[in-house]
């Protein structure tokens, strides 16, 4: 085993790794957007006035949040085919990640809504806003800016969870790095580059989140 970093080898595998990195990124983005979408009905169901519906949803959300993503991936990929549901690795990965993080997002939304002072509802009612208008004009514009950091945090978490998809043979960054490593009996370069690529892209993601947070709601929040 050679422990001196081979720059030539590193350069030769960089294109393949970058390509795989792109796969990781797009799977993350698609899953994140789906998670954002899934979180909303979950929240509404949890806040539903029909108690059994709200309870069942709460139970489901807690179940998914408190079981490991890897277990969920294996279940979807290896157990579901037994009952005739066969999905491609990428589809399985996206479904599992968006469901898992959708549950987290519903909690993020809930925190955002609960952070809006009750007086805002009172004022909206007093001015005659209907429920839909109150949400659209008054509540959501105040609930969304504070949840951006939390949502962004989950985006980066999600990205760092994509290596789990290697276990169900999704050809993403981790999968390709490990494959190159085993093909050449040389893991130092591919795994190092894999880690560095994750680091670079996570930092870029964090910057993106920060800029979004800054851009939204900066006008009306007083800076001291």
């Amino acid at each position: 085993m050679n422990m001196i970093f081979n720059w030539k080898f590193a350069a030769s595998i960089l294109p393949a790794l970058s390509q795989a990195g792109v796969v990781s990124v797009w799977i993350t983005f698609v899953s994140f957007i789906l998670a954002l979408v899934i979180g909303l009905p979950l929240l509404l169901l949890r806040r539903s006035s029909i108690a059994p519906l709200a309870k069942t949803t709460a139970l489901g959300v807690d179940f998914i949040r408190n079981t490991p993503l890897l277990v969920q991936l294996f279940f979807l990929f290896f157990v579901l085919p037994d009952i005739g549901i066969k999905l491609t690795p990428v589809a399985t990965g996206i479904i599992a990640m968006s469901l898992h993080y959708g549950c987290y997002m519903s909690e993020v939304y809930r925190a955002g809504l609960e952070a809006v002072p009750k007086g805002q509802w009172d004022a909206a009612t007093a001015l005659g806003f209907s429920g839909v208008h109150a949400y659209r004009s008054v509540i959501l514009p105040q609930a969304i800016p504070p949840i951006i950091p939390a949502a962004g945090n989950y985006l980066i978490h999600m990205f760092k969870d994509t290596p789990l998809l290697a276990s169900i043979s999704v050809v993403e960054l981790m999968f390709v790095s490990a494959q190159i490593g085993s093909d050449h009996f040389q893991y130092l370069e591919p795994i190092s580059i894999c880690g560095l690529l994750f680091l670079a892209m996570s930092l870029a993601g964090a910057e993106l989140v920060f800029c979004t947070e800054w851009a939204i709601g900066r006008k009306w929040r007083r800076k001291w």
């Binding site: 007086g119 806003f129 004009s137 514009p141 006008k219 009306w220």
Partner: protein
């Protein structure tokens, strides 16, 4: 379509009518067989110790609280109607219409922090009344002018003082053209030096219009000068009421005397 209107005999001239209203929060009774009649254009001050139910009276009229028993009428229309053992609410459609006749200003202002002053005022006329944008903004500007804040039209609430925020909140309420205005301790959250500017605005709108005004306040001086009648609430009932001079200078009950001593000493 037509909501049921109560005959003119007992309540016809009444703008606001509470009849034997009981309101509970859990096991705590806030209003206990509460009766009140407010004629049109009256300026009524509700005073009393905290927890006496005076803010609850306003919140019920604004449809922000429900009641368990009794009748509540606004302009002859039932908001709550006693039937059998408990009160039933008016339909959502009726509530929405009744709500438009009433406006409320809150202790904590409750301005929308993400809107400029002018948009705070124009938003409901646009979204609720369906006013054209230009018209709503023009009206908002003239209301800001009235409360002395025309130059703050584009300021966000976080950049306004408490007194300025409350004046915008009053303008916002006026923009909906209510017949009844509820003022819930509107100066209690303000620094003392900012109280005067808000009270001046209230005097101004009371002079200019035929509004019925219900005000919950701890400012006895203002109540004396502003109100036609003062009601003293304790434990969810009116203990004593009368014209301000008579009420404040010659209170009858011991409870009222003790309360006034405590308030005026502070």
């Amino acid at each position: 379509m037509e909501a049921e209107v109560v005959g003119t005999t007992a309540t016809g001239q009444c703008h606001v009518h509470f009849c034997k209203v009981t309101k509970r929060f859990g096991t705590r009774t806030v209003l206990d067989g509460f009766n009140l009649e407010v004629p049109k254009k009256e300026k009524l001050a509700l005073i009393g110790p905290s927890g006496s139910g005076k803010s609850t009276v306003l919140r019920i009229l604004m449809t922000l609280e429900d009641v368990q028993q009794g009748d509540v009428l606004i302009g002859g229309e039932y908001l709550w109607r006693h039937a059998g053992a408990k009160s039933e609410a008016a339909s959502e459609k009726d509530r929405r219409r009744i709500r438009q006749r009433v406006g409320m200003v809150f202790q904590q202002f409750n301005l929308f922090p993400h809107m400029t002053a002018v948009r705070n005022i124009a938003e409901a006329p646009i979204k609720v009344l369906g006013l054209p944008r230009e018209e709503a903004y023009a009206q908002a500007i003239s209301l800001l002018d009235k409360v002395g804040l025309r130059d703050k039209a584009d300021a966000y609430p976080a950049f306004l003082s408490g007194g300025q925020q409350q004046r915008v909140a009053i303008a916002r309420t006026l923009a909906m053209k209510p017949e009844i205005i509820l003022l819930d301790e509107v100066t209690s959250a303000l620094d003392p030096e900012l109280v005067g500017e808000v009270l001046n605005v209230i005097r101004l709108i009371a002079q200019e219009s035929d509004l019925t005004i219900l005000i919950v306040t701890h400012q006895m001086g203002f109540a004396r000068e502003f109100a036609n009648r003062i009601c003293f609430l304790e434990n969810g009932q009116i203990i004593e009421q009368g014209p301000p001079d008579q009420f404040l200078d010659y209170p009858k009950s011991e409870r009222t005397k003790a309360f006034l001593r405590a308030v005026l000493a502070g």
